[in-house]
Symmetry: C2
Subunit: 207 residues, 2 copies
DNA sequence: GCTTTTACTAGAATATTATTCTAGTTAAGA
DNA sequence: TCTTAACTAGAATAATATTCTAGTAAAAGC
């Protein structure tokens, strides 16, 4: 096995992670203000004080920026959700926590939430593979928290691919509409609304 | 009031509506195969045997094509839904009809459904105004069918902006995932699934 | 500490794509 | 029948994304 073309890998510099994060933050500001299709590489450059060369060095192309931002957002959401769910113990509290966290996170991260809502598919095969893996991992963690409640009979046993739509579907659609009505950072979602959707979710999956 | 710059308006030719429809159909095929961001004007030209001049004459720009396709799709969906809902009479049947129609329409119009799911905001102010008006009209028609059931106590009285998320949110999220798993035109959504979501919707809004 | 190498920055050059412009054809409507 | 606006066509241009070349600077090995 000839080992030509060998090129030592080297760790990225200390400052790199922070720089990439700041580029993603700038890109998000652009997406939020100018729309995703509306923002150009040049817009992102101005917003982040970054050269084209650097942008392409870090992310490959424009789509790479969008993908990375999406993945980071999903991971931030997932991590928060898992942490939140682990704090409650009963089936009812856990189901309701899903809904409440969804509302709170959305209100606290509007631009990012808007971005996650607006983009879907359309990513490169590589990015979709990463997303699939992240999603699988997340779903496993969440389901692990709920299986006991299903086995004990507190929650209905349903096809696995229906729990997420049944529990999160309504809040998701509600927040989507809420976000597109809002532009700035006005009020948050009222307690009554949160509880309405939390109750509805529980009503559907409880036995 | 000086009336310069006057230019007689004239009705479009008979063939125009059909031509525009065929362009939209071709654009949809492109969007479905190449992705929305992935399709170029040149792709649409090849698919529709249309010159750039004609494309821009009919739709103004690329975004105009996307907007028109979106609006046509929404209207087709809304018309079908209203027609379907008028065929049932009881509160339960009507609520369940919403869910069933959602599934059936999605399975029958996959490419269009995928497109409607993937795009959101990002449209011109003019297109958003048109969409708002269409949506308002639709919501009024739907609510007119349901108010009696609320007044008679068969259905819960809830904030107006929660009915759509509560009833359609779950199927919507389910079909969105279903569509992104599917690419061609395989099987349809099983009767059991449809009924599961129909029952869930009814359970949430019934008194 | 010195050297080498690779991560990183920068922006000019190029390629790709969207849009506009100019010149016709064709059919509505007077 | 004539005029004119709707429509078609594609070349010319503008906007934008991406690549290329030339550096600078900090890891990692000596």
């Amino acid at each position: 096995m000839s080992n030509k073309n060998e090129q030592q890998k080297r760790a990225p510099r200390e400052t790199t992670a922070a720089r990439q994060a700041s580029i993603l933050a700038g890109a998000l500001r652009c997406f939020d203000e100018l729309g995703i299709d509306g923002t150009t590489i040049s817009d992102i450059q101005k917003e982040t004080k970054c050269s084209v060369g650097s942008l392409y060095h870090h992310f490959g192309n424009k789509e790479g920026i969008a993908e990375e931002l999406f993945i980071e957002g999903i991971q931030q959401f997932n991590t928060g959700m898992i942490r939140k769910l682990k704090r409650s113990t009963t089936a009812e509290e856990r189901v309701k926590s899903v809904v409440r966290f969804y509302c709170d996170w959305t209100a606290r991260n509007r631009a990012l939430a808007r971005y996650l809502h607006s983009r879907n598919i359309e990513f490169s095969e590589e990015a979709r593979a990463r997303l699939r893996q992240i999603h699988e991992l997340y779903i496993n963690q969440v389901f692990q928290l709920f299986t006991d409640h299903v086995l004990s009979g507190e929650m209905r046993a349903l096809p696995l691919d229906t729990y997420v739509p049944l529990i999160s579907g309504p809040v998701q659609e509600f927040t989507r509409r809420w976000l597109s009505g809002q532009s700035g950072s006005g009020s948050s979602i009222s307690r009554e609304m949160k509880e309405l959707f939390a109750d509805a979710a529980w009503k559907v999956v409880k036995t």
